[in-house]
Amino acid sequence: MPQAPYGDAESLFRAAHKELMRVAYALLGNRADTEDAAQDSFFKLVTAWPRVGGLPTPDEQRAYLFRIVINEALHILRYPHRRWERLGVDTDQDGASWEVLDEQVQARADLRLLWKAIGELPGMRRDVVALRAAGYEYREIAARLGVSISTVRSHISYARKQLSRTVARDWEGAQG
């Protein structure tokens, strides 16, 4: 018997929460940004509920929510300037030296170009790539986004080419 869809945004969010945090933390790498992404995602989910509530299966609802979280995380990664003040942040590295923090800032500046390129990939490809970047296997990505494994594979293969082209160009641009 098919499962009934979630009746409200809060129950869907609660049920998917652990997994959502895993996605967001794997992408963002620190607690503060992960909390922001979670909060903004819930807000978006509530706003989108008229649509999400009407989806026929809980899997589709979860997939929708995953895409919201990915979107929020990518947004933070692409526009991190306001968050740099909290850079201390890789919370498990309390007491990290200033050199380490400095290194992190620089790393983020570099990575921003990469996240920008990922953020600009078309629709589903962007989400597939983001979940890959969050450390998921192809079949896990397929299950979470409700697509086939071969779709995941082909998106990643195209994205690989697109990304190395775009990023190589932007990095040279940034250095020249």
Binding site: G29, D90, D92
Partner: protein, 175 residues
């Protein structure tokens, strides 16, 4: 692993991210879902219309001159359910709880605070109060009688829309 992308890894950036993501996934800290949800609602409410600050300076000063300032000690009622609604109020300072009487037991619906217009039933002649409001601390409010409110909105016809917007935000928000 949180360092720079190694230059020799530009060709397979995605693999680098994947490995990093996998490592991070093994040490995801605990997050409190209830806290996230309540913070999200609070942030949304903060973005909702605050009646007093949404008024123009002219509207605010007209409101002030047509209303009188009243102080409610903590624990006293600003209005009571079932009473004739003969005034509308804006809280300037302090907080009040909104509650209903359910078979002799008090059920708290929500709280109101600075900038909130309260007792909207008092905007229309002949209405009765739909809830009781009790000051949670010392509350300073501007109290405007219904007839003065009617004159006020004749001068400032944009205000009722603001009231409607505030009511709408409350209804679509969490009680």
């Amino acid at each position: 692993m949180s360092g720079r992308v190694p230059a020799d890894r530009h060709g397979d950036l995605l693999d680098w991210l994947y490995e990093r993501g996998k490592q991070r996934a093994e040490r995801v800290p605990e997050f409190d879902v209830e806290r996230t949800i309540s913070r999200a609602y609070a942030a949304r409410d903060a973005g909702a219309v605050n009646f007093w600050s949404a008024l123009s300076p002219a509207e605010r000063s007209a409101f002030e001159s047509a209303a009188r300032k009243q102080v409610f000690a903590s624990g006293t009622a600003l209005m009571r359910e079932g009473e004739q609604a003969d005034a509308v109020m804006v809280i300037l300072d302090g907080r009040a709880k909104v509650c209903l009487d359910e078979d002799g037991r008090e059920r708290i619906i929500t709280e109101r605070g600075p900038g909130d217009l309260i007792g909207e039933s008092g905007t229309v002649p002949g209405y009765v109060r739909s809830a009781t409001m009790i000051a949670l601390d010392t509350v300073q409010a501007l109290v405007m009688r219904t007839e003065d409110y009617t004159a006020f909105i004749a001068d400032f016809p944009g205000v009722p829309d603001l009231v409607k917007k505030q009511t709408y935000d409350r209804r679509t928000g969490r009680p």
